[in-house]
């Protein structure tokens, strides 16, 4: 980010966007502590946002409120300035390190360090200590030391910091995992990219990925922010894009640009929920559904051909729900009715039937369906009414990172998919809002979805929709190495 942007946290709750107070700019990586989610952002004192479920966010003061003096330490201000922008956070051992931008008159800037042992402002142990400046730029060199991104190399536990903003290079230095300060401070920082900002690294399958933001920020709907990336076999690069262009020469494969009603994504952060479920956070410069303000977003992180890809939180709509294991489709266990048309091997040179067959809906065929609870099963998709499910976000029912819980009903009815006490599935005649009727849909790395009820009656163990046989769904513990619990949502 090139300019200070202080964005008020607003209370807004449009459909399928984070709820509560997600308005922010330059969010840090979203981190979890004790099941709660935390994120920090640009603003006076570094605003804090907290969420109990990753869906509904609330503002919780600023980081600097818990720092003696309430502002960057004197050495940080001397190296940079007293602004507080674009932080990032990581846990290292029993400490949390927050790195933040403290620019003066750019490119004279510094990145400061805060050290704490808990993220929970309610904890008696909650406080932050000034860790001093970590890196800085003198206003002349080819670097603007803001926008820190901190990364732990899973291959050896080493800690690294990338930073920089347009003026010259994005740079990489190694950190001391115990102190958060530079390791080998005498060594020259490594240049890894140019003409970019908001950098951060992730690792997968032997590749280091450097994600940066290109384009212009801070102009609302006129911002051209977009997230780009390159990858390398070594943490120090060179980071090449999909065309082999070095990010030091301006390369960068697009990860996410403006789309839909959201303009200017930037400041990527990885949120790994385990079990192979990964999300990423970013902010949009302008969410047109919220009057064009800048907001936090959390979306699924997919992987394709060795590159990360932005997935989609499942949108409201009507879908065929197909098992990746069996290729069969979730349906109400009722006798289906053919959708129409002649039987037999038609269309072999005879007259062409031109009248389209209308879609089959529940109103046409449901008169014979039982009134009470009905089982569900899997069957070949025949475009029939009992095979079409409507996903509808449910207000005030909570959620999970990126989405609210949703009800899943037979299209055109209120008949809702539900978990049973014995860990099986059923449909109930009408949605009541009970937790076993609320579903989360996490998109997985391959683009399929994991479907889980908010809770299963009598079970403390999270269970996922599972294809146990070609015709039989059930609920079972999620296994990331199996297709059993992977589902495709297809538009009928």
């Amino acid at each position: 980010m090139r300019r200070a942007v202080v964005v008020a946290f607003l209370a807004v709750s449009p459909l399928l966007a984070l709820e509560g107070q997600p308005a922010m700019h330059d969010p840090s990586t979203v981190v979890m502590q004790d099941g709660r989610f935390y994120v920090y952002a640009t603003g006076n004192g570094l605003p804090i946002a907290i969420s109990d479920d990753g869906w509904t966010w609330r503002r919780a003061g600023t980081l600097m409120q818990a720092l003696p003096g309430g502002k960057p330490g004197p050495d940080v201000i001397a190296r940079g300035g007293n602004n507080t922008w674009a932080p990032d956070v990581i846990k290292s051992g029993d400490k949390y390190f927050v790195y933040y931008s403290a620019p003066g008159t750019q490119p004279k800037s510094a990145i400061g360090l805060l050290i704490g042992t808990t993220l929970d402002p309610e904890s008696p142990n909650y406080k932050w200590q000034d860790g001093g400046p970590v890196v800085w730029s003198d206003g002349v060199e080819d670097s603007n030391a803001i926008d820190p991104g901190v990364f732990r190399d899973p291959t050896n536990g080493s800690l690294w910091l990338t930073y920089g903003s347009y003026f010259g290079y994005t740079r990489l230095v190694e950190l001391n995992p115990k102190t958060g300060q530079r390791l080998h401070a005498e060594r020259k920082a490594v240049d890894v990219a140019i003409n970019s900002e908001a950098s951060i690294m992730i690792f997968r399958d032997g590749w280091y990925y450097l994600l940066v933001t290109h384009g212009s920020c801070c102009a609302g709907a006129n911002s051209t922010y977009n997230i780009r990336m390159g990858r390398a076999r070594k943490v120090t690069g060179p980071f090449l894009d999909n065309l082999g262009i070095d990010m030091l020469q301006g390369g960068g494969k697009l990860f996410l640009g403006s789309s839909g009603r959201a303009i200017g994504p930037g400041h990527f952060g990885l949120l790994d929920l385990g079990d192979g479920v990964q999300k990423f956070s970013c902010h949009y410069e302008a969410d047109l559904d919220r009057g064009g303000i800048s907001v936090l977003e959390i979306r699924p992180l997919l992987w394709r051909d060795g590159w990360p890809e932005a997935g989609d939180n499942l949108a409201a709509g009507t879908y065929q729900i197909e098992s990746a294991r069996t290729g069969t489709t979730l349906e109400l266990a009722v006798q289906g009715a053919p959708v129409g048309g002649p039987r037999g091997r038609g269309g072999r040179g005879g007259p062409v039937a031109v009248a389209p067959i209308p879609p089959q809906d529940a109103a046409q065929v449901s008169s014979g369906w039982p009134a009470g609870s009905i089982d569900v099963r899997l069957s070949p998709y025949m475009l029939q009414a009992q095979q079409k499910w409507t996903v509808t976000p449910v207000a005030n029912a909570g959620g999970y990172p990126g989405s609210s819980f949703a009800k899943i009903t037979i299209a055109g009815t209120d008949r809702a998919l539900a978990a049973t006490q014995d860990g099986e599935l059923i449909t109930v005649p009408a949605f009541t809002g009970a937790p076993e009727q609320l579903w989360r849909a996490d998109q997985l790395a391959d683009g399929t979805y994991r479907l889980m009820p908010k809770s299963v009656p009598g079970s403390a163990v999270p269970l996922a929709l599972s294809a146990i046989g070609s015709s039989t769904p059930t609920l079972a513990r999620f296994r990331a190495d199996s297709d059993r619990q992977r589902w495709r949502f297809k538009t009928p």
Binding site: G423, G469, S470
Partner: protein, 210 residues
Amino acid sequence: MTLRGLLVTSLAILSVFVRPVATAKAPDADGFLQQWMILEPIRVAGQLTDGAVQTLVKTTYFPDQLTVMPRNGDTVKAGDADLVWHLVETDRYNVNLYHFAYGLKKPTSNVLFWIVTVVDAPREMSGVRLAVGSNAASVWWVNGAEVIGIYNDRQTVIDDGVSKRLALKKGANVIRAAVVNAGGATDFCARFLDAEDRPIRGIAVSLPPS
């Protein structure tokens, strides 16, 4: 030619083997049950929808059809037909009902097969599932309770229909099914899965001696 002679002659194309004497038999390496009592086919309309099959299996063809534990060679009278129970053993995952009926010079299309076996469990086993496949539709009972039905024209696929979690009691458990075929090939397979979806092998088919 005697029935046994006919069947032996047909063995080159049969995947089933009719045995005169039942002996306890463990499931195969993949857990499939390979020894069954099968009644000669009953002629039916051969409709395969959910409703039609449920109507078929709720029709009484012979006394105690949902409780009888037949022995090899037992006969029942279904309508005007005298039908014989046969002890059938397969060395494959499935039992080929087409070959069974064809070998007996019985119809293979528009028919209903009653099948039954007994599984001896060394202890109570809860959280298990009966996993079946059939060509075509079939309805299955375990110890008298209907546990799974699969309908419409379909091919036998391993673990096509899987019951909800159930318990096998210690000792004898009766597995019964009705398989309905409209035309063409007809067969079935069945095994039990444990709570982790693994085939259960620590049981044995234990049909009563003739």
